[in-house]
């Protein structure tokens, strides 16, 4: 009996890999949930032999995590914060990688008056004016920050109003809450495409196309001068691959389960 226990214990101890030859990429939940990484990372591994482990959290959390040295590269969509991080010396070697856009969504039963308003911020003005319920990510994600910038452009401070709900959840969940509450919200097109026909939502796009809704993704490495343990060689290899012809082609050829291209490569 003792021998069985000993064998079991040894098996368990040996079976847990404590270390791994890998780089850690801090990215966002919407990028992860789109399935992009599941598609492009095996291609990268085949070309370079490097394993990339993606930790998907909100954009704000991803940047903070990287600043603490808990990641080797960052792949988010908050260009202003990324550039600020570069300026402050936390990150190096930033490149644009790909883009898509945000869309404003609302109850299927709402009218078509929003598209004619011309600017995304005007839509927000109308929502605040009529006190329509609005669901915000409220989690410092890229989408949340885009939403806040639009409120800023509209000259409105929505916090504290009953009609404004900060849910602190991922995009998919937030949209389901919005649907339940017959509320408006803002989402990246990728998540919208993946969920709109699932039967879970009673919503539609009410506004799209404003350049303000442009969503740029960027990649950068954690500065090895700040954190000497960063695997800088592999991190740079990942960045170089993402902006290379092969990487950009991989991103462009990625399609979701319904055949939609979710991201447009734009590293030039």
């Amino acid at each position: 009996m003792k021998r069985v226990m000993l064998v079991l214990a040894t098996f368990m101890l040996l079976a847990i890999p404590a270390f791994a030859e890998r780089i850690i990429c801090a990215s966002t939940t919407s990028t992860q949930n789109s399935g992009l990484f599941d598609f492009i990372l095996p291609i990268f591994k085949k070309t370079t032999g490097i394993d990339v482990h993606v930790i998907a959290v909100g954009t704000g959390a991803a940047l903070e995590m990287a600043k603490r040295g808990d990641a080797d590269v960052v792949f988010v969509h908050a260009k202003d914060l990324e550039l600020q991080g570069i300026k402050e010396g936390h990150f190096i070697n930033r490149h644009d990688v790909m883009y898509n856009d945000f869309v404003i969504v609302g109850p299927r039963s709402s009218g078509s008056g929003f598209q004619g308003l011309g600017k995304a911020s005007n839509v927000f003005v109308k929502i605040a004016d009529k006190k329509y319920p609005f669901v915000s990510r409220g989690d410092n994600s890229g989408t949340h920050r885009k939403e806040l910038s639009l409120w800023g452009k509209a000259g409105i401070s929505p916090k504290g109003n009953d009609w404004y709900m900060e849910v602190g959840q991922g995009m998919s969940k937030s949209l389901r809450i919005a649907s339940e509450k017959h509320a408006y919200s803002i989402t990246d097109r990728g998540t919208w495409l993946s969920i709109k026909d699932s039967g879970l939502l009673d919503m539609k796009i009410v506004f799209e196309g404003d350049p303000l809704l442009f969503n740029q993704y960027g990649v950068m490495a954690v500065n090895p001068d700040k954190h000497s343990h960063v695997k800088i060689r592999e991190a740079m290899a990942f960045i170089e691959w993402l902006i290379s012809e092969e990487g950009q082609a991989a991103i462009g050829s990625f399609k979701d389960g319904k055949g939609n291209q979710l991201f447009t490569p734009n590293a030039n």
Binding site: M1, K2, L8, A9, M12, L13, A15, I16, P17, A18, F19, A20, R22, I24, T29, N33, D38, H53, V54, I55, A56, R68, G69, D70, Q169, G170, S172, K173, R176, S194, I195, S198, L200, H227, H229
Partner: protein
């Protein structure tokens, strides 16, 4: 009702297909929680026994603390372990963050108080004559303790199963310190959380059913082993 039937059907299909990814997720869950329980037992069993058998100073205080720690919120434990294992933290040099090792550490901390408390309960319910008789027959304190442990073995095994059940079911700690990395730190509960987040409800429920089945099988195997005396605990 439709949804439940659909999910059960999907669970059945998942299990019988022996899908590679599912199997590796289940195996990792068992490894992480199993190893964490093993380590928690090494810590908790001696403590629970010592407090149960001997009048140590601060006796009641220790027991109260142990019982309180049984209710440690997993997400809080996860946060603290994260802060310690982060590169900016004191144990960052280990490089354990976002590896299964970090998950084992967090779960070990969760399970140790449970094992200690429940072992203590099992020990104090043993007839005191066992300990006294052992000492009369010339046993050392360690040998006397082992006799009492042997007597309490069914209660102790139940404590370990309770600890194991709690670990297999928790998600807050392992998702924070493990990072839910596909193929590396993704376990049953974190997969359920992810699929729920993505709106794949049927898959999430199916995984929940699988999780319950796995737990059931572990419990059944253990009880069978107890009944047929495969676990004599000497």
């Amino acid at each position: 009702m439709d949804f439940i039937l659909e999910s059960t059907k999907q669970a059945f299909l998942l299990i019988t297909s022996f899908d590679n990814e599912l199997v590796s997720i289940i195996v990792l869950s068992l490894k992480v929680s199993g190893l964490a329980l093993f380590l928690a037992t090494i810590i908790g069993l001696p403590i629970g026994t010592a407090i149960g058998l001997y009048r140590i100073k601060g006796h009641s205080f220790i027991i109260t603390v142990l019982h309180t720690m049984m209710g440690l919120p997993p997400v809080t434990v996860g946060l603290f372990v994260y802060l310690f294992l982060s590169r900016s933290g004191p144990l960052g040099f280990l490089g354990f963050l976002y590896t299964p090792a970090a998950m084992v550490i967090a779960q070990m901390i969760l399970a140790a108080p449970i094992v200690a408390s429940l072992v203590h309960s099992a020990i104090i319910n043993v007839d005191p004559v066992i300990k006294q008789a052992s000492i009369t027959l010339g046993a050392t304190p360690i040998q006397a303790s082992m006799a009492v442990i042997r007597e309490a073995r069914y209660g102790i095994i139940s404590s370990l199963l309770a600890g194991f059940g709690r670990l297999m079911a928790e998600v807050g700690a392992v998702i924070i310190v493990g990072g839910n990395i596909a193929g590396y730190t993704r376990v049953m509960t974190t997969t359920i959380a992810l699929e729920t987040d993505k709106g794949n409800f049927e898959l999430a429920v199916a995984l929940g059913i699988v999780l319950l089945l796995v737990s059931f099988m572990v419990n059944a195997a253990t009880h069978y082993a107890q009944r047929t005396s495969l676990i004599p605990l000497t």
